[in-house]
């Protein structure tokens, strides 16, 4: 049997908001190409866990490993760590002043500094394929215009 490389590991993660202890000793391991589903009642802490993994919230204690590297806000440049993690927000938090395509290529071009033309070419297949785009279109009134232009 083929065992995949471990991508993400969480050990004994705890997080409270004031008196509200949301995450209690969370352990989690995700291997390469795993698809993991978190199920829980509303308010049970799914978003909080994801936000901790992307360092938008800071854990109280416990450990987060990304590809066997223990990540701490004190020792790591979090912007660089976040470049290795993709995340979709509960409310999408798309950029309303940008087109669908511009939303997709924003990070590759301005964070990863890939060439714009190359990225525009890469962006195209996603944008016709993905269902995500359908959600995006809802927010972007002029996305149809873009579709016709691209």
């Amino acid at each position: 049997m083929l065992t995949n490389k471990e991508i993400l590991r969480v050990a004994k993660l705890n997080k409270s908001f004031g008196d509200l202890h949301v995450l209690k000793d969370i352990d989690l391991a995700v291997d390469e190409s795993d698809v993991v589903v978190l199920i829980g009642a509303s308010g049970s802490g799914k978003s909080t866990l994801l936000r901790c993994l992307n360092f938008l919230e800071f854990k109280d204690n416990g450990a987060i490993y990304l590809e066997d590297e223990k990540i701490e806000k004190e020792t790591h440049n979090l912007n660089q760590v976040r470049q290795r993690i993709g995340m979709v927000f509960q409310h999408f938090n798309l950029f309303p002043h940008k087109t669908v395509l511009e939303n997709i290529i924003e990070a590759p071009i301005h964070v990863k500094k890939y060439l714009r033309n190359k990225q525009l070419k890469k962006g195209k297949p996603y944008w016709t394929k993905s269902d995500l785009v359908t959600n995006m279109m809802y927010i972007h009134r002029h996305c149809l215009e873009v579709k016709n232009n691209v």
């Binding site: 976040r82 938090n93 950029f95």
Partner: protein, 228 residues
């Protein structure tokens, strides 16, 4: 009744002849008003953006600096600020009227613009900053590429309003000797003792400037609404 009509026709033709005989002087004044306004509002915008960012800074002393600036400038009349620059500083530095006016108007409008931009920035959903972070963008990058473009769109109506105020406020620079629109009308008024006519003439010039600027702001607003 005909007498009454005669009077109106008289006044109108009097106004018209004052208007046509003075337009070369007024056009020079208009040009100076536009230069004063454009230079001061451009600088005011930069000042405003700078202090808006200080104000939302998490580092308290920076916020206090912005608070102090806004408090002092909003708390004192523009004419006092212009006089301080022009007459008050005469022992240390002699600033020509045009530049004293530009600087005075710029630091004055800058305080109001700072508050407008700060409000617009804070009105943007904080999820936008998080979204930028989650992509690995720095705070500065997210501010420049995500937050500010959206904030400016929201600020357009208030900024337009502030620019209109700024243009009309430039009339105060006539009190330190600049022959801008209002200065021209005062001179013509005192030369002819026909103050009423020339103040009405100058009012018409200001009305036209504001009309044009309002139209420009409306077009920009419509453009932005379309691309939102």
């Amino acid at each position: 009744m005909p007498q009454f009509l005669d009077k109106i026709i008289d006044s109108v033709s009097h106004f018209w002849s004052a208007f046509t005989s003075s337009y070369d002087l007024f056009l020079e004044g208009l040009w100076l008003t536009l230069k004063l306004s454009a230079a001061s509002l451009l600088i005011a915008f930069v000042i405003g953006l700078f202090f808006a960012i200080l104000k939302i800074s998490k580092f308290k002393p920076l916020e206090w600096i912005a608070d102090a600036y806004i408090w002092i400038i909003r708390g004192t009349p523009l004419i006092v600020q212009i006089f301080v620059l022009y007459y008050g500083l005469v022992e240390f530095i002699i600033i020509p009227p045009f530049w004293a006016g530009v600087i005075g108007l710029a630091i004055h409008s800058g305080a109001y613009i700072a508050e407008i931009i700060r409000g617009a920035i804070q009105s943007i959903d904080k999820g936008q900053m998080e979204a930028g972070s989650s992509l690995g963008m720095t705070k500065f990058q997210t501010m420049r590429r995500i937050i500010l473009p959206q904030a400016f769109r929201r600020a357009v109506p208030s900024l337009g309003n502030q620019f209109i105020i700024g243009i009309k406020d430039s009339s105060l620079v006539s009190f330190i000797g600049a022959q801008e629109l209002f200065g021209v009308s005062s001179s013509l008024g005192s030369n002819s003792f026909d103050f009423l006519t020339f103040y009405i003439v100058v009012a018409v010039y200001y009305l036209v400037i504001v009309l044009v600027l309002t139209a420009v702001v409306n077009v920009i607003e419509k453009r932005m609404a379309k691309s939102d």
